[in-house]
Amino acid sequence: MSTVTKDRTARGALAHPDVTRLDDVNRDVLKPLTGPPGKGWWMMLALCGAGIGMFFGAWGWQIYRGMGVSGLNAPVGWGVYITTFVFWVGIAHSGTLISAILFLFRAPWRQSIYRAAEAMTVFAVMTAGLFPLIHVGRLWHAYWLIPYPNSRFLWPNFKSPLVWDVFAVTTYFTVSAVFFYLGTIPDVAAARDRAVGLRKKLYQVISLGWQGTDRQWHHFGKAYIFLAALATPLVLSVHSVVSWDFAMSIVPGWHATIFAPYFVAGAIFSGVGMVITLTVPMRKFFGLEAYLTTKHYDAMAKLCLLTSMIVLYAYMSEFFMAWYSGEEIERTAFWNRLFGDYWWATWIMLVCNGMVPIMLWFKRVRHSIPALFVISIFINIGMWFERFVIVVTSLHHEYEPFAWGMYRPSVTEMMIMVGSFAWFGFWFLLFTRLLPPIAIQELKEVLPPPMRKQKEAH
């Protein structure tokens, strides 16, 4: 924080009241890239490294021994893996939402968070993408889901939601990755101008020789808005498709038309929650308080509140429809959710996703960074359990009472689930050190004119 004005009355509607000079922006934002990483960062990286070791170790063991090392069985054929898959796909949402949709709607508060959010999106999809592979029985044949001309004259079954998934997730990954990369180009160029040695070489390659000429800015703007327009429908499509993995089945508790909007809302909910979880420490470590202000968190908190209510409504409507349908099997399924063997999971879900966010109605909570951080953790937990409830409780009591059964996650499953967080964290840590965590050029656009003069005066 270079110059902090003591005058709090003049702050007005500025998004970044404490940012006064444009070159402060470059200096502050690029500091994490240039400065020494610091013990904490290394320790966290090491932790994530260990986690990744556990992750691939457990996975390798499962490939070697067979799916039996999981706790899965009949009737519960899907468990922690699919739960975590959906969780990460959900996390992947807010990134593109914030950058693309809010960009199209010109939301004033997106500039300082969208970079982190987009990075999170890309890494989350990278994580999610592993889980379908982890959960198939014969990984070595998983490529059969990809349509390609082959000597068997066989194609995948395009009726199957799982095949739709392949397309949805890969498309979403490609577009969000490109979108993310495009946005960084000017900032990487800025970093390049400051960096030295290997870093400089790296940035030179990544920034594709960006000079910030008018022509480049012109094309950049065009490309960016096109991509934003392209990414926007994907935000809605990808999680709708994921929700159809369930909705297309006939399993009581899965087969519901509300699933697509319900999942999308849930995804945004968890995604924004995760953004808060990630940016709060980031802003602390790299001293970006001036750029990620309570204004941004307030806005994100409101988004959480909105989506939380949508999700809660979805829960309620599910229970209502189960009762209203008069269908005994449907009723049993949802009664079993609340009071059956997995009642605890359901109640964790309801409390974390429905009750806790109610606190966000209060401005004081929304403006307290620590409070938001804690709430966001609750949201992450709650959303993971939401998926667990949907997957497991629906399966373990289905149509055939004689075939009812229980599912107990195994150690391997837990190692892989926890390890996936390490894998995600690993990439995010690298990101914070290698790329500008905040979009410099867009930030400058929203800084008030007088300061521009100052710069010109410079």
Binding site: Y143, Y148, P149, N150, S151, R152, F153, L208
Partner: protein, 199 residues
């Protein structure tokens, strides 16, 4: 700079299609060159089944006795071999023929090395194909001309094979290719239902 990206992209695409190709093409067992390499007795198919002068022009099913009534074509018993060879010492290399007697006396079966092998999860009823009027050669190649018996693989996946059918035992497209041919009524001549072979 951009060029590099392009090249990289192409390389990736090639690699992928290469993988798919290998998977599809079904690279098979490496085929040896001389009989003594791997067969317990140097059995020349051409000498027995060949129609050249000096060759014996035997019917395949004389030895592969159950081809027209069983799923298995059948491997001749040692006594079958000896049935003829106790009279025919073998002009070209009698020492090989002599081995038959050894096995017979020892009461041991001859451990032939299998050349044509269809995966265990695919069921190939020989009799259905023989009774459909197929010639052995249509699947096994011109065995009567082979001294060293080896599957004639083109190495290409069947999708590129067209009408030219040679052995592709672990290549499903090679089977489908034939099943799909229209019969005289113009409908496909054999079922391509998975469960016809896979169960």
């Amino acid at each position: 700079m951009r060029k590099h990206w392009l090249i990289g992209g192409f390389a990736g695409v090639l690699a992928l299609s290469g993988l798919a190709f290998v998977q599809g093409g079904g690279a098979g067992a490496d085929s040896p060159t001389t009989l003594s390499d791997f067969q317990p007795i140097a059995f020349p198919h051409d000498q027995h089944a060949g129609s050249e002068p000096g060759q014996n022009n035997m019917d395949c099913q004389f030895c592969h006795f159950s081809a027209e009534r069983s799923v298995d074509a059948g491997i001749p018993s040692v006594s079958t071999c000896w049935g003829c060879h106790q009279a025919i010492p073998g002009t070209n290399n009698p020492q090989e023929v002599a081995k038959i007697k050894d096995y017979l006396d020892a009461g041991e079966p001859i451990p032939w090395v299998r050349i044509y092998k269809i995966a265990d999860h695919a069921h190939f009823p020989h009799m259905r194909h023989i009774n459909a009027g197929l010639q052995c050669q249509e699947c096994h190649g011109e065995v009567q001309t082979m001294g060293v018996l080896e599957p004639q693989r083109t190495g290409l996946p069947a999708v590129f094979l067209g009408q030219d059918r040679v052995w592709g035992g672990d290549n499903m497209g090679w089977c489908i290719d034939c099943h799909r041919q229209p019969n005289e009524d113009g409908v496909q001549q054999a079922s391509t239902d998975c469960s016809v072979c896979h169960y």
